[in-house]
Symmetry: C2
Subunit: 159 residues, 2 copies
Amino acid sequence: MAPAHPTPYVRPMKIAIASDHAGFALKGELVGWLLELGHEVTDLGTDSTASVDYPDFGHALAEHVAAGKAERGIVVCGTGVGISIAVNRNPVVRCALVTEPVSARLAREHNDANVLALGARVVGPELARGCVEAFLATPFGGERHKRRVEKLSKTSQDA
Amino acid sequence: MAPAHPTPYVRPMKIAIASDHAGFALKGELVGWLLELGHEVTDLGTDSTASVDYPDFGHALAEHVAAGKAERGIVVCGTGVGISIAVNRNPVVRCALVTEPVSARLAREHNDANVLALGARVVGPELARGCVEAFLATPFGGERHKRRVEKLSKTSQDA
């Protein structure tokens, strides 16, 4: 992916990434670009365009992030819907499905999202990159949003 | 909201709806329109633009749908991110955050989504209505997607 604009500096992070077959190509493009930017990337698969089940990859990524093995995660499926639901089953992970960078920024500022979900059939590679940039570059807004974010670690069953 | 195009017929359903303060105005517009279409709508709040916590409303809606009190749910916050995460903490509910009708349709066909999340700061009222129409009108695609949807009822902890 040739850069359409200069990429803002983001400190190197440990980033985990996972997709199903529909997200395989976009995942590959994002991995190459994140490595060029100096991030440490763990690719949890899938490893081809052969049909797989998105929940398996969403659950694996959520566990990886929840275990502290990566600071941020990125997941990709056709629309991002299925894999984002799977990731959000883990109550200590907060996965934001976005289609544009403004929501990626707000998901960091307001929701302290630590996983970003993208739909490879919905957003093209350059727009996906803009979403990832905003997701990596934006800090959590802190105090004003903290109580709400803490409530996301309670399931509706405990509430 | 004046119709921009004819609304396709959708059989009347029990629909629950909830939002935080940022989604209050869009929720009101959607409730009025859904009632005109003949749906039975349960509005779980919030009831004003006074600041509230989106997880409270997401959890309440998820419990309502999980208990079988509504066939479908709709949730609205600023971006849709926070409230969709809250809803998806409930393992028997599948909440799709969308910004356009194609993803709303695919979320029904592929993921059997029973809750739709919208961001009132991201999509305008007509686009939101298009998303809701696709969400209500599209049946689940069935067999080909069933195994994956069943896996969404397992949390990553059980997996």
